[in-house]
Symmetry: C2
Subunit: 813 residues, 2 copies
């Protein structure tokens, strides 16, 4: 007999295998393997040992109810698609008949195989034992204190990452645009310049843009494609309960950080705000788990937080800390997370999130104050979008104007969303190759530079130096004491341009300049969002809005020169709010963020909210917000707040999936192994009172997850060898392998343990939520949504299983 | 046969009573009535007709399972206590053995009989029919539009009420304090004054205080006691799902409005903010129902919103509009509602609430601008607490000071809460008589005036006129060109005093003045909150905080005269925040409200939040926030966000109530009538497959509410006369009597309909939430809380009832 420790090794093949086993009735008929697909997929499984395989053609030989699942013959679906090998799944299924009900439906809808997270706490016997043990230890209080500590850590580390990204972007952009300015000054002879002289700076500019963009796009494409885009839709889906593979890994964070730096420095039309949420989320998930699977390092702390449910709350806090750091807006950041990202709220969570946000902004402030050499220890607030010097005022008769701006923002935003979706659909169809995706990003970067150069070349907008608002005045074709206002718009990061549009004194631009800029940037930002680079959509959207807002004020002032209320900065701000409302469809958080980042007074909330709400209503008439659109386009099974309208009249029996693969309370290891191999369901009802092997007619007494079954098989937790593992097995045994549960492939063939028995009584969740077949869908949706469920068992009045409902059933039926 | 219309009259006694009836086996034994208690309670029930009565002493004669409920003999509990006749209930139960399980437990805990609201939508056949019909009519969209319209109306009307209260208070206070000032000027000879000269103004002051206070207290005490206090705990309980009788009636609103005017004008230490939330809630409940039961007027609009679930959302919106109007702070108002009042959140609700708040503030602004004669059409914001002229700045080294202020606020707040609770407990025990309550309010008002006069008399704090911050400078004992700083603090409403403390220039008061003022007001406000008057706690709390905050700054400046950062207004603001945090234990909404009401910049959020969070944490160490304390003291079964710690290790079977009174799917009218008479449960499981009359062993197939059963009996919806009512009966039949369901007493004796049968299939809720006896309490608590349930059925694996869980079971066991 081996040392007991070896019993809980992952690849447990110890001597208790030789314990006496009860013989099991293995079919005597010659066994067929499944053919080439099958053997390719499971190189570790020798097809010679057929006992673990099931003949799809001979239902009656198997003495259990698995045959009911095998009504359709043909090759099986891929064995394990937890980590989202979506395309793979489709390849296999499209060339044959579907086998399992659930999978076939998924495949038919040609959606990727997103799995759910286990937000439902599995309160099995092991869990309850732990709870009872901990009740004595005042564990609850300790856990609470630790939770606060983690939230504070999340705030600090997120802020440090944000600072680093901030500073690097600022320094590199400074270098880049200074170099370009020098190059312009060197190459373009003043006043009598011709087009040809602009060629060298233009080429430099192209080079300095495509190099970082190509680097970033290549990293994103080849190393971690999940980092493409802003990350907000992904985080939102995650918080809703959808498992987005690899979303909260350290590698993702690294790629995201480098990706956002390269794209902003490369001059793409995007901002760093969205990625910051994602970065915060990764930090939160990492810290709260006290271990990194990427670095195979377990710090052995915070073990109690290792489940999806706890992690979710930390991720929300991290996201909030990320936005807060990105904008320097603690309350706005928290509200942003709540309004846009969170699917589950409660009071305590909100307070923790707020503290994380506050800590984050405070850390950011200290570091950035030190970096900018502000040594007078005065807390300034960051005012990312620049502080308005004098309080913005408005008159009642301006309210309709704000409303019109809001409506404009709603229309432009809805058009932007729809155009962007079309572009991305085009991309999906025609640019499938990785290399092409990188090239595409480079082409868009070049397009941006070219358009900017054309604007600079063709529009003659020279303004006198002196109270010039830009830090890099470019003389270009202008007179000696003038600077080029067009170049001023382009020769800085988008964030800095938003600042300029808000705060430049009236008369800083020609109407033509701003009009062209609006059009070019609208198109550019639309083409950019969806490229395989890490970029947020907030700043470009605000920029477009600020541009047309300012433009409208200028045009109106041009027509009615006596209208002195037309402060261009004020209208740029309202325009930005309207455009943001039209694209993102948020209201409260955006108004607070704009207020916190520009230091305006609270009485100006009112026009902002007017514009935002008008924009949201108008936009909502046409389509959904950009994040929700992206989630839909990617077929993420995200649960909305209310059930979809077409489900209103239905009942549970009309949407449930059946037949359901059940497992007996005491079932054979052999059967469980077969089931796991054969189907990729993630939850199996546990039944009792089974007559013979008609499992689906037993009384439901619980539910067990695929991941738990795999751990049971891996660690050989059988009835027959109980004495070896029982004293050492606790909920921790299952928690140790979280979150990357091994796949069934890692379970070696059962061989001699094939006749062992598994007793699920202590492992299963004995209290799954159950509903009746005639319950209405809005009602069960409410239950499913509010409790963050993964599986909902539908049972009839005799407590027999009628079907199972998962999140897909609320969306794709 | 009568006209069909009469069939659905409330007191239906039409001719179908004479239809042939199936004989029922009435016990042949002589029937005993229950004695004097019983016959007193049911004057309409003649004890001669014993068929409707049940002999408590003879269990075996009744051929059903009601006897199982009658294990203990004795007089029955009161028949109907829905409208909270709590004392009544106790009287009856205390003098005998308990009869019914649920009631006896309640009575034993000596808590009032609060009932739950039906936030769970009863999706019975009638409801589903309506849904299906409406699916065709695009009803959902129309309902949505109407919902928006209602929210907008709520905002406008709440604001108008708030304006009215505001203006009346302002005008009356102006009159009062002007009169007092004149009186002082007339009676007190300048400079060489003695105490005696102050007597006449003192008496005037007493008179002008006790008259309104006595009037207000009498109204509250004799007309509508529920209006006492701020109303926030009541609204919070309501939103949590507890039925607080009479809380959203028009009479309540009227008394509350008059009550708050009289108490503020009377000079009690209270504000109008809390009552505004309550006023908003009443407005919302009233408008959304489209009818007033008080005025017996049904406008026949908004019928679809007549259930507890819909009303809840409107009430939240109304509350938010109320706070917003009270403070002129739309975002703060919304967050206040969310943070303090709401128990159920979702995204759409938040948007609607925000719109109601915005509309409310806008309306308020227009009306008040017009009233104050600001005709320049500039939106000013209201800045209830006065706008800080120059931006508040702070240094990093002040952060620890802010934290210390926060800790101080937490300590003072916790002490205040505890002291206030002690005072209120004392009141409960020793001042039970209505008249005494009015007298008490008058005494406290006199005490306030006396203390103020003593302060004015003994403290000599004269300041030069000129840049005097007060509008009513009182010369009193001062020189000709001076005013009395002590009198300035007292001769205005508390809200105006907060404004003074925030904005008076440095050196406006002596240290002694402020120190005395702090102590006096601390004690006064503590004694005031809990009086039988309508008053909020926000303003006095802020006032105490502002006083000690300013005091601390002055003392420190006195000790370290070189510390120039010690701006007294800034520290008054932080002090107010800290004290509010210590008493109310909110953070986000308070910081936003303070910001919106004083117009400070968002960079000053940070110190506010620091102070608020420190105060909250320190305070939470000692006790709960004042609103939660009040809720607990009143034994309101309010469900917290998390299950109580002592419930952590329990399972459903340890907290459930049993035996449960069940009703058969087709049961006799007689039995139902008996059950309703005999017990006051509000939900009855409906069972099927009953062998004989052993109802509790049937299979559970639904749940029916007491109110539904009463309607069924009232309208004679029996199987035997189906043809008369079936075509005309819809969900509207039940909705028509909402929210004041008749009691069983209004059902006349069944007489000849005694043998009729009720078929519950179309009336019952066929999908009640069910749990298993071994489910853990935290888990079922989560279900109960998230879904806003009223009854949770505990069933075993054979689908037989094991018990029932209501909100009490999570709190009082």
């Amino acid at each position: 007999m081996d040392d007991k420790r070896t019993l809980i090794r992952l690849d447990d093949e110890t001597s208790e295998d030789e314990d006496p086993v009860v013989p099991i009735s293995i079919p005597a008929k010659p066994i067929e393997t499944f053919g080439e697909n099958r053997s390719e997929e499971m190189p570790t499984t020798s097809s010679a040992n057929g006992a673990a395989h099931i003949s799809g053609n001979n239902q009656n030989l198997l003495a259990d109810d698995l045959p009911s699942l095998l009504e359709h013959n043909g090759p099986p679906p891929p064995v394990n698609t937890i980590n989202g090998s979506a395309g793979n799944a489709r390849n296999h299924i499209n060339d044959s008949e579907p086998i399992f009900h659930l999978r076939s439906r998924t495949a038919a809808a040609s959606t990727p195989n997103y799995e759910s997270l286990d937000y439902e706490v599995c309160e099995n016997t092991l869990f309850q034992e732990e709870q009872r043990r901990r009740l004595r230890e005042r564990f609850s209080l300790r856990k609470d204190v630790i939770r606060w500590i983690i939230f504070i850590q999340i705030g600090i580390i997120t802020a440090l990452i944000a600072c680093t990204i901030d500073i690097i972007i600022e320094e590199l952009s400074e270098l880049k645009y200074n170099f370009l300015k020098e190059s312009v000054a060197d190459n373009v002879p003043l006043s009598d310049a011709t087009g040809r002289d602009l060629v060298i700076p233009f080429l430099y500019w192209i080079l300095l843009s495509i190099l970082p963009v190509a680097f970033g796009a290549a990293m994103v494409t080849y190393i971690e494609p999940i980092t493409a885009g802003s990350g907000i839709p992904q985080v939102k889906s995650y918080l809703n309960g959808v498992k987005i593979p690899r979303i909260v890994r350290i590698k993702t964070l690294a790629v995201k950080a480098i990706g956002v730096i390269t794209s902003v420095v490369g001059g793409l039309a995007g901002g760093k705000e969205g990625p910051m949420i994602h970065a915060g989320a990764v930090v939160a998930a990492g810290i709260s788990q006290g271990k990194s699977t990427t670095f195979v390092k377990d710090f052995r702390v915070f073990k109690a937080f290792r489940d999806d449910h706890e992690k979710r709350d930390f991720v929300l806090g991290g996201g909030a800390a990320g936005v807060s750091a990105a904008f320097g807006a603690p309350i706005g950041g928290m509200l942003f997370s709540l309004e846009e990202a969170a699917s589950f709220w409660n009071q305590n969570l909100i307070w923790r999130t707020l503290v994380a946000s506050i800590i984050s902004v405070f850390t950011l402030n200290i570091v950035l104050s030190a970096y900018h050499g502000l040594n007078d220890f005065t807390f300034t607030g960051l005012f990312n979008l620049g502080k308005f010097d004098q309080p913005l005022k408005f008159d009642y008769f301006e309210l309709p104007i704000f409303m019109i701006l809001g409506v404009t923002g709603g229309l432009l935003g809805a058009a932007w969303n729809s155009l962007n979706t079309k572009i991305n659909n085009f991309r999906k169809r025609f640019i499938p190759w990785k290399f092409a995706k990188v090239i595409e990003a480079v082409v868009v970067a070049m397009l941006g530079v070219t358009l900017a150069c054309l604007m600079i070349y063709f529009i003659n907008d020279c303004r006198p130096l002196g109270n010039d608002p830009t830090i890099h005045p470019v003389q270009l074709f202008c007179e000696d004491n003038e600077y080029n206002a067009v170049a001023a718009l382009w020769f800085q990061t988008p964030e800095a341009t938003v600042r300029s549009l808000f705060h430049d004194p009236p008369g800083s631009h020609k109407i033509l300049t701003l009009a062209m800029f609006t059009v070019v940037y609208y198109v550019l930002s639309c083409a950019t969002f969806g490229l395989n680079v890490s970029l947020g959509v907030f700043i470009p959207t605000a920029l477009v809005g600020a541009a047309w807002g300012r433009l409208l004020a200028m045009v109106t002032f041009y027509l009615f020169p006596e209208a002195e209320f037309l402060h261009p900065g004020k209208y740029a701000l309202i325009g930005a709010a309207a455009n943001l409302g039209g694209v993102l469809r948020m209201t409260i958080s955006l108004s607070v963020i704009l207020m916190e980042t520009t230091g305006i007074e609270s009485s100006f909330f009112f026009p902002l909210i007017i514009a935002l709400i008008s924009a949201k209503w108008v936009g909502d008439y046409f389509n959904e917000g950009i994040y929700d659109t992206q989630i839909q386009v990617n077929h993420v099974p995200m649960l909305p707040w209310e059930p979809l309208p077409q489900y209103k009249g239905l009942t549970a029996k009309e949407i449930l999936s059946s037949p359901v693969v059940c497992i007996k309370l005491r079932d054979s290891a052999h059967y469980i192994y077969k089931v796991l191999k054969k189907c990729d369901h993630n939850g199996f009802p546990v039944v009792d009172n089974v007559i013979g092997d008609r499992r689906s007619e037993g009384r439901v007494c619980g539910i067990i997850l695929r991941s738990q079954l795999i751990v049971i098989l891996l660690k050989s937790l059988y009835v027959e060898n109980k004495r070896f593992w029982l004293p050492e097995t606790s909920i921790q045994t299952f928690r140790d392998v979280y979150p990357r549960y091994p796949s069934i492939k890692s379970v070696r063939k059962l061989d001699d343990k094939i006749n062992y028995t598994v007793d699920l009584a202590m492992f299963m969740n004995p209290s799954p939520v159950r509903v009746n077949p005639h319950d209405s869908v809005p009602r069960i949706f409410q239950i499913f949504r509010a409790l963050g469920l993964r599986h909902l068992l539908v049972i009839n009045n005799e407590n027999r299983i009628a079907g199972i409902i998962t999140r897909r059933d609320f969306i794709y039926k």
